[in-house]
């Protein structure tokens, strides 16, 4: 689960991690209040709040340039915020559709002496926490990792021991810090690790972390994401979830315990099990089609869940065909068949549907579908099913 920069900065403040002071605003009036916190001739950084990187180099759908701008005074800050709020920002991470800016963050402009990179995240391979730091701050860290991997420091922290002083010092010295900055860095890292651990974060990232002209550390940006499996332990984090950042179909699906991800193709699919759902998308592509979604109805879905799943996938206007692929283990094929029939009664099904059922109670499931007089095609193997639906969609388009 991701949160916005301004929310992450509030967490930083809670954990005494130094950052420039700042204020979030969601309306013109709130913008005015926020801007009034600054001196009239003070420089103000205006930052659009969306869950995607590359904001500074992004552009808005109306052609306005830059989701992060430095205003030279209050008036200019108001003008920048006016352009951003309610406008849709496109960055290299948002895709063509971009994200609507609902919150703007106003921040004190820092005097930067040098920029660094700092992150704490999980290393899957060793099942440890890894501290990543680099002198190449403010840049795309993946690019740094690819071009100059020697410039990234990695320190592993065993989960049962936690971060130790000597490790924090190693990071500080490796970044070239001396004197008071070493202590300051060790303190910041200890607090950042505490936040990471206590809140079950998957990643905390500061890019850039800066040393100011007067020789102190500041987190200029803040990115925090949390373990979905652990959010239930942290109601205060759960509250930070911004549903505006999620596809409404995905939000709706999650209410029915369905795992749905919208994609940009035109063949919808409904599958049980995450691996098989991915593989079904792959095989649609293999036969020349394009999947409209990932949908895992889980191991033991009910008739009601199947009905809802069907309704959600067909609400996507791009959908020109549907493939249902079920390997019933715990899930029984007749339950799936009943769900499909119930859903098809409620919505007028206008696109071709191919159903492939296998596993527990398969004969009963097939019989129910055959007797339903629904306009659908069946298939015995996954390959046959995928070929059929791709073919039907192509014919309908021709």
């Amino acid at each position: 689960m991701n949160i916005h920069e301004y929310q992450a900065k509030r967490l930083f403040a809670e954990y005494k991690i130094p950052a420039p002071r700042g204020y979030a605003a969601q309306s013109t009036r709130e913008c005015d209040t926020a801007i009034n916190h600054f001196d009239s001739d003070e420089k103000i950084v205006v930052k659009a709040q969306i869950h995607a990187g590359g904001r500074g180099k992004g552009h808005f759908t109306d052609g306005y340039q830059g989701g992060v701008k430095i205003a030279s005074n209050q008036k200019e800050a108001r003008e920048f915020a006016g352009h951003m709020l309610g406008n849709t920002l496109i960055t290299k991470q948002t895709g063509e559709e971009g994200r609507k800016v609902q919150t703007v963050y106003f921040s004190e402009a820092s005097s930067i002496k040098k920029e660094y990179y700092l992150a704490i995240l999980l290393d899957r391979k060793t099942a440890q926490t890894v501290i990543m730091a680099s002198t190449e701050g403010g840049m795309d860290i993946e690019e740094v990792a690819e071009k100059t991997p020697e410039k990234i420091i990695r320190i592993f922290v065993p989960p049962t021991l936690g971060l130790r002083h000597h490790q924090s010092r190693r990071v500080a010295f490796a970044l070239g810090f001396r004197g008071g900055l070493v202590k300051e860095m060790a303190r910041l890292l200890a607090q950042l690790y505490k936040l990471y651990w206590e809140k079950n974060a998957m990643m905390v990232e500061i890019n850039p972390l800066i040393v100011t002209e007067d020789g102190h550390l500041q987190a200029l940006d803040a990115k925090v994401s949390f373990d979905e499996n652990a959010v239930f332990q942290h109601p205060e984090i759960q509250q930070l979830r911004d549903l505006n950042e999620e596809d409404p179909k995905e939000t709706e699906a999650s209410q029915f315990n369905l795992n749905y991800i919208a994609l940009d193709g035109n063949i919808a699919c409904m599958v049980n099990g995450a691996g098989l759902a991915m593989a079904t998308m792959d095989i649609i592509k293999y036969f020349g089609g394009s999947p409209a979604n990932f949908l895992d109805v889980g191991g033991g879905a009910s008739e009601e869940q199947v009905t809802n799943a069907f309704r959600i996938i067909t609400s996507d206007p791009n959908v020109k065909g549907i493939l249902v692929n079920i390997f019933g283990g715990i899930m029984q094929c007749d339950v799936i068949a009943r769900g499909i029939i119930a859903a098809a009664k409620n919505i007028s099904l206008e696109v071709p549907l191919v159903v492939r059922l296998e596993g527990t109670n398969v004969e009963e499931g097939k019989k129910l579908l055959a007797e339903s007089s629904l306009p659908l095609a069946t298939a015995d193997s996954l390959a046959e099913a995928a070929e059929k639906i791709v073919d039907l969609v192509k014919k309908a388009e021709a």
Partner: protein, 294 residues
Amino acid sequence: MSILVNKDTRLVVQGITGKAGAFHTQQCIDYGTNVVAGVTPGKGGQQFEEKVPIFDTLAEAVEETGANCSVIYVPPPFAADSILEAIDAEMDLVICITEGIPVRDMAEVRRRLFFHNTKTRLIGPNCPGIITPGECKIGIMPGYIHKPGKVGVVSRSGTLTYEAVWQLTQRGVGQSTCIGIGGDPINGTSHTDALKLFNEDPDTEAVIMIGEIGGTAEEEAAAYAKENMTKPVAAFIAGTTAPPGRRMGHAGAIVSGGEGTAESKIEALKDAGIEIAPTPSDMADALLKIYNPS
């Protein structure tokens, strides 16, 4: 004719009285698995289906029944603790079915497993379990699709394993053991571990390995196979079409920072001489291209 579990396995079920635990325990008993005990704190002294004794603690269950393997159906907030309880009780094998365990809990469990001279092997979490067809089924897979034989199957995904197994069975090819290692980013048994076990098992002749996007476990398995594997291996990797940065159902199925792509895994596996199934419908056929069942 198998690895890890067989007809001599003595199974204890942690969380035997929960809805999922009770249902699948019955299914496993019906398949022929030797379920010797159950554990639900506070329900010690009762019996499951008037047959299986229930204990308050795992230690007590082991002492009384000599169980050597446990399966966990405990809800996610308490599941990691149940795994630690099983390690403390010195189980040979623990299979954790539970989906949704916090990653931080699993990081601690793995530390305990690998650095404290434990004898326990963990399979899962977030997995369908393990089955040696005709002898012992532990977990939630449908038993009837399997057939005793000599092909080992290892996979991160449940239903995709069923798909592979069913393809084999339909072609008359049986399985030695099928292991679901689970879809979480941190698990107990890796693809490499499973390949090693199958390589050393005299009764396994060939292996189907099923992977998916996320992490580098398949690349590591490919490196192992290239140097050591003496048996034919076919593989399928799911997620070629998955968009980067999105978690595809499984907590571990995510391409991030350019790592964990299907392309990188397929390339590594090909380089190791492993036969790649171009689609999930071709898993058994890919294996049969390079392996003649005896």
